[in-house]
Structure formats: C-alpha cells, structure tokens
Symmetry: C2
Subunit: 204 residues, 2 copies
C-alpha cells in the first residue's frame, strides 16, 4: 500500500509506526523476562501503555507479535548485510566485521534472554524457515563479498559456492542457539583467528 503524501496522513503513518515499534519493544522485553507463553496480549498492552483494544488493531494475536519480533530481528541482519556489501573500504575487513557483528548479536541474544530456548522454539513454530532464512542472508552476503574481492583481485577463490559453504560450517560452532552447560561460550578471539586464517587462504 503506497502511503499518502498528505501531511496529516503522513504524520498518522508515523504515529502508527511509532506505536507498532513501542509494542514490539514492550513485547521483546516481556518475552525475555518471562518467556513467550507466560506473556499475554494484556501484559504487552500494559507494558506499551496502550489499551488492549488498541493492541488488537496492530496485532491479531500473540503469534502475530512473535512473528513481527522475528521479522524485526531479521531486518537488523539485512541492514548489516547491506552495510557489509555497500560499505566503504577493504572487502576482507568488511567481511570480517560482518561476521563479528553477527557473532556479537548472537552472543547478546544468548546471554540476555533467560528464556532463549522457549523464544527460539516459539519463533520457529510461527516461522518454521527462520533459521534457513538467516542462513540464506549470510550465504548471499558472503558470495557478494567474494565477488567484490575477486573483482578487486584481492580474493582468489576457485569455487566460491563450495568455499562459502565450508566457511559457514567452519564458523557455525561460534553461533550456538543456546548456552551449553558443558562447553564455555565461544570466544571472539578464537573466531577472529579462524576468520583471519580463511581470509589469508583466500588472498593467497
């Protein structure tokens, strides 16, 4: 739906976006604190400072809110991917920064959400392709950066698709969904070593 250019309409749109955003922030806060199942539409409305009837103008039900949260989360990844591909400077540095940014985001999610497993489960329930979608963004971003690196004669990768898949498996250990009770949290310094090794292999 194209938005109206009428000033009054535009500010109504802005207000709507703002309210939607407030709702998602309220929901995220409650999901992280109490889990999805223990959070009701009434709780979300109260946290966002809205009447519950108003909340239902924006979202049909809690699943709808969960889905919107997942989409907002994915949008952050998409923005980071665009930054990496369209950014200035050395392609190897951009690739490295992109992976490290994803690593930090994943680590933050794992450590800040006490209900991370339940949230992940609910997100996968309302959007079963969530993990594959994230992986696809990552795959496309890396392939674009490979192509840029090849164009700049910086990367020499004979089989980009195959190398990209090996690379993704090689860093997968650094992106666990949940904290492990047996293995300490992956360290950024170790990931940096892996990234540097791969980049050296590609630039050779």
């Amino acid at each position: 739906m194209p938005r109206s250019d009428h000033p009054a309409e535009r500010s109504k749109d802005q207000l709507r976006d703002q309210k939607r955003n407030d709702i998602l922030n309220a929901a995220k806060k409650l999901f992280r604190k109490f889990g999805v199942k223990k959070t009701t539409m009434r709780d979300i409305a109260a946290e966002a400072g809205l009447a519950v009837g108003t909340l239902y103008l924006y979202f049909e039900n809690r699943d709808d809110v969960v889905l919107a949260c997942a989409e907002a989360f994915e949008q952050i990844h998409k923005d980071q991917a665009i930054n990496a591909v369209e950014g200035e400077g050395d392609v190897a540095t951009r690739l490295k920064e992109y992976i490290l940014t994803r690593f930090r985001a994943a680590a933050e999610t794992r450590t800040s959400d006490s209900h991370v497993a339940e949230i992940a489960r609910e997100v996968v329930r309302v959007r079963p392709t969530r993990l594959q979608d994230e992986s696809k963004i990552m795959q496309e971003t890396i392939l674009k950066l490979y192509a840029q690196g090849a164009e700049a004669s910086q990367f020499h990768i004979a089989e980009p698709q195959r190398t990209m898949m090996v690379f993704l498996y090689s860093i997968a250990w650094f992106f666990p969904i949940e904290k492990s009770e047996f293995i300490p949290e992956p360290e950024e310094a170790a990931l940096v070593n892996v990234l540097d090794w791969f980049i050296e292999t590609w630039t050779k």
Copy 2:
C-alpha cells in the same frame, strides 16, 4: 603392578579383567537406559550377574564406575588415534578416516543414549578435564599426521599449530554433545565436504 607370569596367576588376571569388563558393560547399559543417578551399585551387580559384595571388590562406588566407563571410552579414542598415526596408506585418507570415525562415535552416543546430557554431566563431574583430554588427543593426532604429510611432501602447511586449531574449530559444529531441538543432526556428507576442502588446501 607387573602381572605374574605364573599360569594360574595369569588366568586369575584374565578372569578379573573379564569380570571388570562385564561390570562396565552392564553399567553402560543401565546408564544409557535409566541414567546415572537412577542406577545403583545393586542394579549394576544384578545386571552383571554378580553379588553386590563382589562388585565392591572392583569399584568403590558408582562414581568410580562412571570414571572407569569414561576411561574405557577414551581408550577407544586412543586406539583410533594410534591406528590413524601408525596405519598404512595415504596420510590424507588416514586423517579423513580418523575424523569420520570420531564423528560416527559421537553421533552414535548422541542417538543411543536417552540420558546423554545427564551422563555427560556426571562424567564431567567425576572427571572435569574429560572434554579437554579428548581435544588434546585429537590435537596431537592431527599434528602427527601433518608431520607425516609434510615428510611425504604431501601436505604444505606453513603453520601447523595454527592450522590445526582452525581445523578443529571448523569441524567442531559436527560434534555437538547433545541433540539440538532446533538444528537437525549434522550430516556426514557435509563433514566430508569440509574435510575434502581442507585436505585440498593442505595438499596445494
């Protein structure tokens, strides 16, 4: 303690080893079926067909049995490592087979033990360095194979220690301790792709 060469003594030793082995097999079976905490020394004795007093001649308590099971498990890994290092044929093939053997063993453990998390927890409790010990065997084995490959002019690895660490992180995702509820079990075919890619990089 050196064993006696007297035939009667030797057969006593053999009988002792046999009984010890029976006990460990009985214990493993019960741990996998019921978990460690729900298995008593009495259960283990019954499963092994021994009087409980006899069991206590071999093991002081259940922790002692858990520790012996962990050590038997590690001994299998040590034997596989010796096979890899002392085996015949191409070094790349031996390295690949060694990793795949470990992969299959880990997959079998994850899928056959319904109490895998509890068993892992108990093993780490009685032997806190268990995971590091396994990792150390793997590190040493890979470095020995690198050296053999270099000697045969087959591997060209400028920094073996660093490359080995990157390689271990790169395959770590294929060795989860527990089954994940979010991610399907790692596939051997994908691991083979990763191994082949690394071997090609080393042989270039």
